[in-house]
Amino acid sequence: MQYLLLIHDDESQDNGDLMPEYMAYTEALGASGALVGANQLQPSDTATTVRVRGGETLVTDGPFIETKESLGGYYLVEAGSLDEAIEWAAKIPSARFGHIEVRPVVMRQAQVSA
């Protein structure tokens, strides 16, 4: 199964330079064969929310919901079970400061045969 590990943290909080830790983590994930994809996101003040209502496109500044901890990035991993996904999630450096949401991915035919 694939799981999306969504990294939420408080952007206003300084947790020091986590980059070396993130690089080591990503490398370990890659070496294990579990890494499917990963990206860091620009800060939430760069977010734009788009809606289409009655055929009209409405564009607003900022994320759809303002929260203290915002989505800062993600890993997409292949794991045998939720326990394995939880193990990987717990090793993400930001798990110590913010939180990681683990979401199973709905697998469609195209991905299954790929």
């Binding site: 794991a79 045998g80 939720l82």
Partner: protein, 341 residues
């Protein structure tokens, strides 16, 4: 008990797949391919012990809410139907059915594994399983008493002790539940609780106490004794002809080391007062922080002050306890003590 609990747990997954096919015929073939083969094959009815153990760890997985863990455990490993579980927890049957369906879906869709967890996480996960069984027992212990829940909890604890014979806490929990259940006829009189020291010991179930002792002995013969074994030890110390307060006090001290809490400390103080006199108990009570809103804290303190003949302070403490008491029964009791000063 469903004839095939593991099969029952995954049925919802198949039903859901069927719904999907009905909704969208074009997805039919794809959907069938999406269901892993082990989930489309019904499991064998003769579940071997390891399967029951895998099932209990899936049902008590921390990714499920505690209410769902309790309901799933009772439904898939206990002997209760959905309606019985709903009545025991005072929720409509439809609500309970919904809770079960949702939990089963999460097990399937989130990939909660059916397996005994590896050693590095086993202690935490076992503690979660034992907690579910303990909560089932407490829900039945009342008042109002619901025997079917107590019986299920004891049966589950016995099963866990049987399947994990090397886990001290599984035996410890089994022992604790047996000791507590043994007092069920003596602990409620006319609808209200009877304190342990006021219970008619002739009403205690001697057979269950003996079984509790055997389970406790097994718990104590193994390493890694934990809070359940210690609490069972306390219950055993109360089950002699008269309570052995020195041992009870010592065991509460050990429990406080493992799970520090002001309530455990209050229990220790009461035991110390019984063993070494009210002065020693009061010293511990007065060092406790954080129970100022707890009526039993003030009633225990009042009782010690009364025995020390510090009447004015005792009166004030009874008054405070009475203000915080949860119901009229306790208030009447405290008022009686206060006016007897």
């Amino acid at each position: 008990m469903p004839t095939n609990p593991a099969g029952w747990l995954v049925t919802v997954a198949k039903n859901r797949a069927v719904d999907r096919i009905r909704r969208d015929q074009t997805l039919r073939r794809k959907t069938e391919l999406l269901i892993p083969p082990e989930e489309t094959e019904p499991m064998d009815d003769t579940a071997i012990p390891d399967e029951r153990l895998s099932l209990v760890f899936a049902c008590c997985h921390p990714a499920l809410g505690i209410e769902a863990q309790i309901a799933l455990t009772l439904r898939s490993l206990g002997g209760l139907e959905t309606g019985e579980i709903a009545r025991a927890f005072l929720v409509p049957e439809a609500t309970m059915a919904q809770r079960l369906v949702r939990a089963k879906r999460k097990i399937r869709d989130a990939g909660i594994p059916f397996r005994v967890p590896p050693d590095d996480v086993l202690p935490d996960r076992l503690a979660a399983v034992l907690r579910v069984v303990y909560l089932i027992f407490n829900a039945g212990y009342g008042p109002p008493v619901r025997h079917e829940l107590c019986n299920e909890a004891i049966r589950l604890a016995a099963m866990l002790a049987l399947l994990m014979p090397d886990e001290s806490e599984a035996h410890g929990l089994h022992a604790l539940l047996l000791f507590q259940d043994a007092r069920r006829e003596a602990r409620v009189r006319d609808g209200s609780l009877v304190l342990l020291e006021d219970q008619d010991r002739a009403l205690w179930d001697a057979g269950e106490i003996a079984a509790g002792r055997r389970a406790l002995e097994r718990a104590l013969s193994l390493p890694a004794r934990g809070p359940y074994a210690i609490q069972a030890g306390i219950a055993a110390a109360h089950s002699e002809g008269a309570s052995d307060w020195a041992i009870v006090a010592e065991l509460y001290a050990r429990l406080a080391e493992l799970e520090p809490s002001p309530v455990v400390e209050l229990n220790r103080a009461v035991a110390v007062a019984m063993a070494d006199g009210p002065e020693a108990g009061l010293a511990i009570v007065d060092a406790i922080d954080g129970l100022d809103e707890y009526y039993l804290f003030h009633s225990a303190r009042a009782d010690l002050l009364r025995r020390l003949e510090r009447v004015d302070e005792a009166r004030a403490a009874y008054t405070r306890a009475s203000e915080l008491a949860p119901s009229g029964v306790e208030r009447d009791f405290l008022a009686g003590r206060r006016s007897a000063l």
